[in-house]
Symmetry: C2
Subunit: 319 residues, 2 copies
């Protein structure tokens, strides 16, 4: 993310990660039936994926009075600091979507913002010193507001979405000028840059401020572009995919969690972190909601990492 | 392609490669204008891509009396044996297509089979001993006929296309039972298997006979599946793509050409060969027709191979 390979100089073995994003309840229709009130939202996936790598994750979000307390209790049990999740009177952010039979495309049927409409992230005193910050795809004005609250993060990564690219481009561009890394999917990158070719789209985005851009491509893996070059992370070809919701957020959580675990931002560590992102994304899509990220162990994560390494390995040839 | 790692036991350093496929003239419309009478056809791309790796390539095809002799002379100058390209009275196979402005999709405007409608591949005496055989996406009955003419190939790879999956499935399945490797693009794999998920589609295809299947995914790279596992070859993220026509055939030519060059079929060599395929596909799309495969050198091929290796490299992590 920081092309010159700047290292973090903290004495702590595990760096702290602050996640600001949505916490939601999703209704999802698709080839495996209709599922109601599933735990969703970017922060839910990010925090859970990151929790396997570091015990130093805190999340900031908002839920309504319909939100089951057990979801927060589970995150707390995983070591995630959930004190920044406000509970407000009203309904939790609620997304309803339908996946095509092949899971390749999805349609939003309904979005009820509920208490999320008035979300004002308040970063608690302890989290203001977070070294790594991941801004989920919330309103870019809120992302900017978070950046005024944190003190000296070593790495700030941000996501965004089509809605903000459409209606809040000035705020979005202001935000992009202040973050190190933008993490978006391919369609978002194309829309933001007004350019179909991903390498050109990335070059366009880098001119807006970030020193690196990560483009998530679903089952085609992810691409990292920065001033110094590019990296392609493969995706695991999975036979059993149930629910692609949260794949990109799980990728982001695995990536940032591994960076917190590794404690440096060298180019080599960042590449490995992207593979960890791919690993966590692959677990997420095998089950509904965050279920694919439940009950994982370091051993299973390591095993899938090794499978991805084996999938991608080839010998250098000399002609 | 042969999961048990069977080696070829020829004394020759470079194994012989026989290519049977179409030789065509293409009219192509797209964001870079309308281009008429471009050299096209699977065999044209395959043979040219393979010619950089071995001088032991022969092609079998048919052209009409409108086909410029210089295209054949050029291949001959590259060391390709073109004596198996028949010239018949009539028009050369002519394809007209239009690419969308983003080059992501294309529409066939017209197909005139011309002399290709009566194509009957006749394998010359010398080519019947070819060790590697690549069957372009011609009628599966013709692919089967070629297999009765060759003597003891160590590796037979075949391509196919939506037309044959639609109208000649019995012959196609008979052919699949007799080849080692099927090389198709993702949509063809899905259509053939009746299954969107690529891992499942590959498993379905492997049950039809081939010991391996290679799925070409354009700018998402290529996947190899065989009984023993899987390999994912990345694609080079290119800023300048002019004409995707022939990318998959150039991939196949680079792959088979490298296998001929390397002289073995070990799992490691096959992985490296897929990367060489990706390299040759990346050159092909940067120019119209076979122009991206002109004037290459081993040095430039090696350089792009090294770039792909750098693009895909990551360190193994231990959690």
């Amino acid at each position: 993310m920081i092309p010159d390979g700047t290292l973090m100089h903290s004495r702590s073995a595990h760096r702290s990660l602050l996640v600001v994003g949505s916490v939601a309840l999703d209704d999802i229709d698709g080839p495996f039936g209709f599922h109601r009130d599933l735990l969703g939202g970017s922060a839910s996936f990010i925090a859970r994926a990151a929790s396997y790598f570091t015990r130093n994750v805190s999340i900031v979000g908002v839920v309504g009075d319909d939100f089951p307390q057990r979801h927060l209790d589970e995150l707390t049990a995983l070591g995630v600091n959930t004190s920044g999740v406000e509970r407000k009177a009203g309904e939790t952010f609620h997304w309803t979507g339908r996946y095509a039979p092949d899971l390749a495309t999805r349609t939003t049927l309904e979005t009820r913002l509920g208490v999320f409409a008035e979300f004002q992230p308040k970063i608690g005193e302890a989290s203001r010193d977070a070294q790594l910050v991941l801004l989920g795809n919330i309103d870019p004005d809120l992302q900017l507001d978070v950046l005024t609250q944190v003190r000296a993060p070593v790495l700030v990564a941000a996501d965004t979405m089509n809605l903000w690219i459409d209606i809040k481009r000035p705020a979005l561009e202001k935000m992009l000028a202040k973050v190190h890394t933008l993490m978006v999917n391919d369609e978002e990158a194309r829309q933001l840059a007004g350019e179909h070719n991903l390498r050109r789209a990335a070059a366009h985005i880098l001119k807006l401020g970030p020193t690196s851009v990560i483009i998530k491509r679903g089952d085609a893996g992810a691409l990292l572009f920065h001033g110094g070059g590019a990296f392609a992370a493969p995706a695991m070809p999975l036979a059993d995919v149930k629910d692609p919701t949260g794949a990109g957020d799980s990728f982001a959580g695995g990536l940032m969690g591994y960076l917190a675990y590794a404690g440096d931002l060298s180019p080599s560590t960042i590449r490995t972190a992207m593979i960890m992102g791919s690993v966590m994304g692959s677990f997420a899509v095998e089950q509904f909601s965050v279920d694919g990220l439940r009950d994982l162990t370091r051993e299973r994560i390591q095993q899938r990492f090794d499978e991805l390494a084996e999938l991608a390995h080839f010998e250098r040839a000399r002609l």
